[in-house]
Structure formats: C-alpha cells, structure tokens
Amino acid sequence: MAVARPRRLGWPRFLAALAVFVTLLLVLPYSGPLFAALFPDLDRPLYQQQSFVSLVVAHLWLVVAAALTATVFGIGAGVFVTRPQGREFRRLIETLSAMGQTFPPVAVLALSVPVIGFGFWPAFIALALYGILPISENTIAGLESVDPAAKEAAEGIGMTGWQRLLQIELPLAAPIILAGVRTSVTINIGTAAIASTVGAISLGSPIIIGLNGNNIAYVIQGAVLVSGLAIVVDMGFGVLSQRIGQWKSGQA
C-alpha cells in the first residue's frame, strides 16, 4: 500500500493547494488594513499598479511561453543527438547547454536588453534559453534509459524509426523528460520574477518596485504569490508524472 498512497493523495492535494492559492489571490486585494497594521510607516502598504490577478496571468504567460519553447528545443535536441545522424553533435549540444546554464539569468537579461530592448521579449529569451538544459539533459538520459532489448525488438519486428521514437522510446522516456520539464518550469517561475528588472510585467514587479522604494509590504505580496504559484505548479507536475508512469504500478 506504500506505493498506492501518494497516488490517491496526488489529485486532492493538488486541488487543495490550488484552492488555497486562488483564495489567497482573491483575498490579497482586500488585505490593505493588515499590511497597514504590520507596516505602519508605509504610505501605500498594498501594491495597486496592476491587479494581482493580472500579474499572475502575465507571469504564467511568460513562463508557459518560455517553457513551451524550451521543451520543443530541449526535446528536439535530446532526440537529435541520440539518433545515429546526430550522434556527433552530442558533445557540442551538451557543452552549449551547460554553458547556457552557467550564465546567471540576470546576465542573459542584461545582455539581451541592448539587442532587443525592454519588455517581454528579453525576459522570454532568457527564460527559454535557461530552461533548455534540464529538458535536453533529461531527454538524453530518458532515451538512454530505454531498455536496449525493447529497442532491438521494436526494430526487429518492423517498426520504422519514427514509430520506434513515438511509440516506444519517448513514452518510456516520458517520466524522466517530464521531470526535466518540471525542474525547468519550477526554476523559471522563480527566475521570471527577475524579468521585471527589464520591464516585463510579472509577479516580480511588486518585488522589484518594493525593493527600489523600500516597501517591504510589496516585496512580501509578490514573494508570497511567486512561491505559492511555484508550489501549485510543482504539485500539478507531481500529479501528471504519476499519471504518465501509471503502467509501472500495473493499472491500465
């Protein structure tokens, strides 16, 4: 039963966390008196430049767009270098994405501003580049973890290269690839907050403005929502990864 327990609890826990987060999001606009009491020195204790809901939407939009791009390129690169025709590019891809990872995202943001200007795009590019490595690494690891016997059998009984990739290799690598996407997205939810330094609207906006204006209340409001969002999304991935690996527990 030790195996079955998290399966049963995955969905309800995720929904509970989501409900708490949504409640928090809806209640926060009315929390002015609370923050006024906590920080009596502040003139404006509640962030009101944009609504919190619109900040969450903008933040998610930035993260989702970057994650989708990183996923396409990460899985694409991982698949390519594990095919016979791409094998020689493997070192190159690994080195490039490892180098990308050693760049702090702030540096990527700073470098892209002179080229692209302020706003959504430099943030998007920094996040997408930053998100590729965990996905391409895990795609390679996942594809290499596929039992060679299954691959040989798939080839020997007459599956084409695409059929083997789509029906056997990617489904079997999926749990590991998904773990890479999960890491990538979770990191980027945090990193997207920094994107506000280059003018993108996100949950980082109250944090950055709060830090500049010495307004701790703004920082707390932004930080609570960013971490809440990260937790909810991570739990969502938890539920998804249980579903995707369901054959392991033997239930159809």
Partner: protein
C-alpha cells in the same frame, strides 16, 4: 525459403563471415550453433537486415532481401530474442498486437489472433491479457515474446538464443512448446543457440559454425553418428555423448512388440531413449513397458536393445 549465396560480412577490418552458402527450406527447424564469435547471431540478423551483409545475396521467398524495404521484410519475419524486449508500457495484448497493428489489421481480427496465440503459448487469456510485462515471470514473458513474434503469421520465425536466460525447468517446457508449435504451424524456424542438447532436441537440421564457416550441417542423428571432424566431436562432448545419441532416437524404434504384464512403469513410443533409460535406472529394471497415448500397452523396451 531463405538462401544465402556467397555471403560475407565484415565489421570494419574484421571478417566475421567469409563465404557462407546455406539454404533453409520451407518448414525446416534450422538451429545455428557454435561457440561465441562463430557468427551465428550475425548470420541470423542478416536475414531480417538488422545486420547488413557485406557481399553476396540473401534471398527470402525467392527474392533478394534488399528488394524489400527493411520494415516490410521484418513484418513478414517473426523475431524473438534472449532478452525478450517486451514493451514495458504496453499490456500483454498490446505487445502481441504490435505487428498486426503496424500492418493495419482491423480490431476484431487482432483480438481473435491474440486469443489464438495466448492459447497456442499456453497462457491463460483471462489472467494475462491486460497484465503488464513486469507482472510476468521470465518464462511467461518469453511466451509473450514468442506470441508477439508469431502474431502476424510470418513466413519465418527467427529466434536468437530465446531460452538462454531461463531456468532449466522453464527452458525445458518452452522447448517442448516450440517442438509442438513447429509441428502445428509448420513455420520455418531459424534458431540460434550455444546449447548442443537444445539444438539436438529441437532441430530438423543442425548447422554447426566455427569462425563464420559451416563445419557441418545435418540432421541431429547424422551429426551424432557421423561427426564431421574433431571440432564437432568436441562440441558434442565426451562424457554424455552416449546419452546425446540416445536422445535423438525414440522408444518406438527399439521396442519389441511383446507385451509383458509385469511392467511397473511405462514410456510412450514417441519418448526418446535417454528418457527411457533414465526410467529403467530408477526402476532398477532391465526392461520397461511401452504404452500409447491412450494407455494401451504396445510393447516392451529392453536395456540390451537400448545399448545395442
């Protein structure tokens, strides 16, 4: 059914198969046997183009194998390997259905075929159909592997040491299944092993290989009675050579038609002499009764006839 003509195979500078000529007839159970590095697996894999031959021509059903796209060729040739290679994320039935699905069979035909194959391999459909491979024992997995290889009713079945990783009891029962399946379906089977007892038991023809060359290709009893050279003799072994000889002859060949009432145990006319001898040793008797499958006495086998 399969014809190798002047086939050679090199991996880089290493010549693995120098010049192979071999014809495997329709319905034959051809066992390729040899020590490691003898090229037996390479030869097998050249048939379905998992390994491409370097020169010469291989014909399948009268046509050069390179005239077929590899996938088309492979879907007409069943393939079972030692490590089985079931797809772990698919149920037993989805695994068996792989090739029929690739060939675009309709659902009803696939379902009917799965039912037939589970029965052929002695797998309880109700129990196994929706199981996942990791829920099965090694022997059961290999039964599913063989069912998957047979699913689209291929002309030829290739088996690469399929029972090499199984325990002796499971291996024994799967060998018995293969003999039965070969008799029932009449499939052409090419089977690779390094186990001489397995080869002698299953084969209609044994092809003994050394360094990519055929040393001897003959029926099990011809191999035993007239080994071509010392290599074959060494392969047959010294200590139980006599028992191997007995294992390729049946009780029916040596029994006397007289019926004795005193028998304590009996064998079938189709049992091999090795088994009959073993029973006599257990009985501490120099004779054993022979009964047919219905249990009617048909004769008596004497120790002196076994060893003569």
């Amino acid at each position: 059914m399969i014809e190798f003509r002047n086939i050679s195979k090199s991996f880089g500078d290493t010549l693995v198969v120098p010049d192979l000529n071999l014809t495997i007839a329709r319905g034959e159970f051809c066992v390729l046997i040899g020590p490691s590095g003898s090229g037996k697996s390479t030869i097998l894999k050249m048939i379905n183009r998992l390994v491409e031959h370097t020169s010469g021509e291989i014909d399948f059903a009268g046509e050069p194998i390179r005239s077929f796209p590899p996938e088309v060729l492979r879907r007409r040739i069943g393939y079972a390997i030692q490590s089985v290679g079931l797809f772990p994320h698919w149920t037993v039935e989805a695994n068996i259905a792989t090739v029929p699905r690739l060939l675009g069979w309709d659902a009803a035909r696939i379902q009917a075929r799965i039912t037939d194959l589970l029965r052929l391999l002695n797998l309880d459909a109700a129990r196994f159909r929706s199981s996942y491979p990791h829920q099965l024992s090694g022997g059961q997995q290999q039964r599913v592997g063989v069912a998957r290889a047979l699913a689209a009713d291929p002309d030829v079945l290739l088996m690469d040491e399929p029972f090499g990783a199984l325990d002796p009891i499971t291996r024994d029962s799967l060998q018995a299944e293969m003999t039965r399946i070969h008799a029932e379906t009449g499939k052409t089977i090419v089977f690779v092993t390094h186990d001489m007892d397995e080869a002698l038991r299953l084969a209609s023809r044994v092809v003994i290989l050394d360094k990519g060359r055929i040393v001897q290709a003959a029926s099990p009893s011809d191999i035993l009675n007239a080994p071509a050279n010392d290599f074959v003799r060494a392969f047959l072994g010294k200590d139980d050579y006599g028992l191997k000889l007995l294992s390729v002859e049946t009780v029916g060949d040596r029994m006397r038609p007289q019926i004795s009432a005193m028998e304590k145990d009996s064998v079938l006319p189709s049992d091999n002499l090795r088994l009959a001898l073993s029973r006599m040793v257990v009985l501490k008797s120099d004779r054993i009764g022979v009964r047919d499958e219905a249990g009617a006495p048909v004769g008596t086998l004497y120790l002196s006839d076994v060893v003569s």
